[in-house]
Amino acid sequence: MTTSATTATPDRAVASPAEAPSPEAAVLRVRDVAVELGGRLVLHDANLDVRAGELVGLIGPNGAGKTTLLRSILGLVRRRSGEVLVDGAAARGASTSMGYVPQRHEFAWDFPISVEDAVMSGRVRRIGWLRRAGVADYRATREALDRVRMTHLRKRPVGELSGGQRQRVLVARALALGPGVLLLDEPFTGLDVPTQELLTDLFAELAREDGKAVLMTTHDLVAAMHACTRICLLNRTVVATGTPAELDDPALWMRAFGISQTSPLLSALGLSTTDRKADA
């Protein structure tokens, strides 16, 4: 971990300037959400707030329900109880105020389509039935591509992109709708460290500069602790949330991940024996 510029301190990230909404108002609120899949209670009493300008890392072991939480926020799985509020209003299934970046392997990368058109495909619903993309759609596409710095590759077929470039295309596609909330599911899977850092910087930027509320699942705990303004530990329910510095109790991690006191994970996070404070 060499980048120190990306370690946004929580206060800086939350109290972002002028146009950002007031830090009090969470853009995304998850209230007591429970989800049942195949007859099993996969998620229960999940509570989470994400404010504008925050980059929140959703962390937990395999099968903890991270993807399920994202999908229930989007209305892709039915909630057994609880509610999801976006900008204070109940989120509709087909919300355009949320951008979703599913896991990369959901996308048909062998499809004969250019980067530009793939990004535009995020706006299909907005464009509407029987209509063609208009000026506003092209502008939104161009701006989204600019934002992820893929403009120079906009004519490339998506099949000829690297893993990191592909991830940026997916982010641009979500951004093309101009959402206030961005949900990212394991954006780093299968990417090398430099690429991960590039993307982390991008996500931090989207939160800090564009005032998006970003919620991201990842298995890269060290990177998440480094870059996220807040961390949410999930294991079938929210075990703990707080700034990386606040989550310094090894017991929380042991509970969330079901690991023992001697697990190398704890030492990787600097939590095992030495009481190392955040490097800020």
Binding site: T67, Y100, P102, A108, I113, D117, R125, S162, T189, G190
Partner: protein, 313 residues
């Protein structure tokens, strides 16, 4: 072998009135299949074509036994199948190909049993299975023309939605597109395209009309628009050339048309500018161009090793 001039003379010969009709129907249905086939190939859902082609058969058989309209009989059976497949395939735990293996071969068997109750069925069975260029009623030419035009119009109007679903179902669903209904619409389009083609080309070979031209077009280009232009051109040209060869060499029409399309596919396989075997061989030898390297600036080397993404839970 007769010359092209003689072929044209035959086409204009009133005693051979079935020939231009067959040509018209074959070319029109190939063009429609080419366009719809692009979606089928890109989604990797050749199974739906297979399913429908099989399932259309009992419908045709019933229509034949009852002396009803073959097009309508096939269409009804096919649409029922399309709905079933759409419903079943929403549940990703059921493997589509096993369903088809059991269910649709059974449908095929049912068709054979039904048609065997009609007197003199052997001839008509062969006609259904391998197609026939004689005995296409006049009204079928109109049916194919009108239905084909409607099909192309619907495919055009729903194009961007079909593409969004093919690209990423999860995302399409989260954006609020009615994925199930779009799937169903596409399956119905496939069904009708097959029913329109089944008479000339035959039940067994119709899948090739759907898949082969689109697959060849895919090899030739990375642009969807161009692919959807090339596939019907390849299909239509194959029908034209195939029918000419079959007429002049006295070969079965359906088989000849499919072989011509397959020849085009093989040519594309070897010689396509980017995805052809030769092009890949050539590229493999030479290093990447400087511009390509420049374009990749800022991205770690060796990233390509992770191209496919890692499937996780």
């Amino acid at each position: 072998m007769i010359s092209l001039g003689e072929f044209i003379q035959d086409l204009l010969n009133p005693d051979l009135a079935f020939l231009p009709k067959a040509l018209l129907v074959a070319v029109m249905s190939s063009v429609v299949c080419g366009v719809i086939g692009c979606h089928v190939v890109l989604r990797g859902m050749a199974f739906i074509g297979d399913a429908v082609a099989h399932a259309v058969f009992p419908g045709l058989a019933i229509a034949f036994v009852l002396q009803g309209s073959l097009v309508i009989g096939g269409a009804v059976a096919g649409v029922v199948t399309a709905v079933l497949v759409a419903v079943f395939s929403q549940n990703r735990r059921l493997k589509e190909d096993s369903i088809i293996g059991v269910f649709f071969v059974a449908a095929f068997a049912l068709g054979i049993v039904i048609i065997s109750t009609a007197p003199g069925y052997a001839g008509s069975l062969q006609q259904f299975l391998f197609g026939s260029i004689t005995g296409i009623p006049d009204e079928d030419v109109y049916v194919v023309a009108i239905a084909g035009a409607i099909l192309l119009l619907v495919a055009f109007l729903l194009h961007k939605e079909f593409v969004a679903v093919s690209l990423d179902r999860e995302m399409a669903r989260s954006a609020g597109l009615p994925v199930f209904w779009l799937d169903l619409a596409l399956y119905v389009l496939v069904t009708i395209a097959i029913v329109l083609s089944v008479q000339t080309i035959g039940n067994i070979l119709v899948l090739a009309l759907l898949i082969t031209p689109a697959a060849a077009a895919r090899l030739l280009t990375d642009r969807l628009g161009l692919m959807m232009f090339l596939a019907p051109v390849i299909g239509g040209a194959s029908a034209l050339v195939g029918l000419y060869l079959s007429w002049s060499l006295d070969l079965p029409a359906g088989g000849t048309i499919v072989l011509v399309a397959t020849a085009v596919f093989l040519v594309a396989w070897f010689f396509a500018p980017r995805h052809g075997l030769l092009a890949r061989r050539r590229r493999h030898g030479s290093a990447r161009t400087p511009e390509q390297e420049a374009e990749n600036q800022g991205v770690a080397a060796g990233e390509r090793a992770t191209l496919g993404g890692v499937p996780t839970g």
